[in-house]
Amino acid sequence: MTRRKLVLRNLVRKKSRFLFTVLGIAVGVASLVTLLSLGSGLEAEVRKQADVLGAELVVTPKGWCAYEQISVLTGESLPEAIPNEDVEKVTAIPGLTAIPYLVQRTALRNQPVTVVGIPPDAMKKFKNWEMDRGEYLLDQQSAVVGFGVAKQFELNPDQILTIRGTEFRLRGVLKELGNRDDLAIYLDLSVAQKIYQVGDKVSFIAVKVHDLTQMDRYILEIPEQANVAVVSDKQLVKSVLAIVGAVRTTLLLIAAVAILAACFGIVNTMMTATYERKREVGILQALGARKSTIFSLFLWESAFYGFFGGVLGILAGSAFSYFAAPYLGHSEFSAFLGSEQSVRIFSLEIMGQCLVFSLLVASLAGVYPAWRAARLSPVEAISYE
């Protein structure tokens, strides 16, 4: 006979009570695992999308808020606000490669799709795109699509796409990149400006700096030359991560409340157990159990609730992250993730942290009932009916 065996026997003596208490913890831990996985996935994706941008600086209209800056990374449609005059001023600064973007939306078979107007040649050089099939040709009647769009809508070269009432021949499909470049239709910038009736304006300008040591100088110089604001890719990622972090913290607090509620479930279960097993506590004391032994038996029982609840919660949370990821990917908030894999993060670190957290919290919840059981006087306990 070992203490562990005794604890486990006591744990499952009321099976339904055990099950519901474990489920309470499991729900809390599952939400924690899901949110942490999702949070890590979002963070990783934000960093990846910043790399995809391929630019060290992003030139935006003055007064853009953080949410609009996020949209540079997410591919959401953006207001057209930088006139061609400013684009030319930025482009004219020596030591930079500047690519203007016009980001808009259209619908294919009632599904929203991003349309990006770009300068074709400069962009191809900027991104080093390669073709999966067809050719890279953007002109008045031609369009190119990302791999994801072609896959989703079963598009092939020479098919006709209708965007804002204008027909375009699909010339080619880009090679799969595993990022949001896969999820857009590309048009010549001037054509996109014409069909979306935005005049000569663009949404933002991606800037590659030839000499990185001169970054700070360009951050000062660009706004002097044109009526625009400049943000570095690092600042952009930082501000996006700050928002992601705030959302994540809020969601984690909700998960923490769920776990806290489950802890009160454990306290309730263990308090009931101390009343029900009062006489048994007395027997153990008569057989030579110290107060510390009684305390540890009840505390271990509580910790086991945390362990089983934690393991079940981690499995459920991981399963939810895995199976729900494709559906989450369809929401406006997370559409930019581009690939489902980013949500499907199974981090041993996250799982370990959640299990330790669950164990700690459940043990903490067991302290008071264990203390109550340990301080029973042997005679009082043994005479209890």
Partner: protein, 223 residues
């Protein structure tokens, strides 16, 4: 005459929860080592209280309990638990077996608390249960046993730590006459092995096997 294993001096226990009740008053007694003693008397006159004080389960309001010259009333809770675990075995009227454990495990749990090495538990538990005639009930749960069988498990459990002293509170109180007879045979045999046995009882059959009988009335020893 054997030297006493137990000695009490002016042993008094009173309960005060708004109304003072004296359960035991100025009891001086000696229990010889290796004896089989009975404590008799009407219900509510302090028999079980005396047994609890002898077993270190309770503390006197005043007076002393000496076990082999050591004052139990002066010991802290941990040392008392140690003494109970190593030197004393208890048997109660209502068997008090742990319902979630099998017969064998109920005996093993006492060994665990007495810190007997885990590897020795199964063999020793089987040996003790064999002594009380329950070798075929090792894996049964307490609710599957008769009252007499449960009490024999309780006796085996009380012997698990190989104690010097066996304290029994109405051990045959819930048994039929056949079961009582079997239990008394076991108790006699245990006493003959040199263990001191103290039994609180109302039963004249139990008293009949005792070497000495102490009578308690209104918390006082009656000569």
């Amino acid at each position: 005459m054997n030297e006493p294993i137990y000695r009490t001096e002016k042993l008094t226990k009173a309960y005060d929860d708004g109304y003072r009740t004296v359960a035991l008053a100025d009891v001086d007694l000696e229990i010889p080592r290796g004896s089989l003693s009975c404590i008799m008397g009407p219900s509510g006159h302090g028999k079980s209280t005396l047994l609890h004080l002898l077993g270190g389960l309770d503390r006197p309001t005043s007076g002393k309990v000496y076990l082999d010259g050591l004052d139990l009333s002066a010991m802290n809770a941990n040392i008392l638990a140690e003494v109970r675990g190593r030197r004393i075995g208890f048997v109660f009227q209502f068997f008090n077996l742990l319902p979630v454990l099998s017969v064998q495990e109920n005996v093993e749990v006492a060994m665990m608390l007495a810190r007997v090495p885990t590897s020795e538990h199964p063999a020793r538990a089987r040996e003790l249960l064999g002594l009380v005639g329950l070798e075929d009930k090792l894996y049964a749960r307490p609710h599957q046993l008769s009252g007499g069988q449960r009490q024999r498990v309780a006796v085996a459990r009380a012997l698990a730590n190989d104690p010097d002293i066996l304290l029994m509170d109405e051990p045959s109180g819930n048994l039929d006459s056949n079961s009582e007879r079997e239990l008394l045979d076991h108790i006699r045999r245990i006493n003959q092995q040199g263990k001191t046995v103290v039994i609180v009882t109302h039963s004249p059959n139990v008293a009949a096997i005792a070497g000495s009988i102490l009578h308690l009335r209104d918390g006082r020893l009656v000569v």
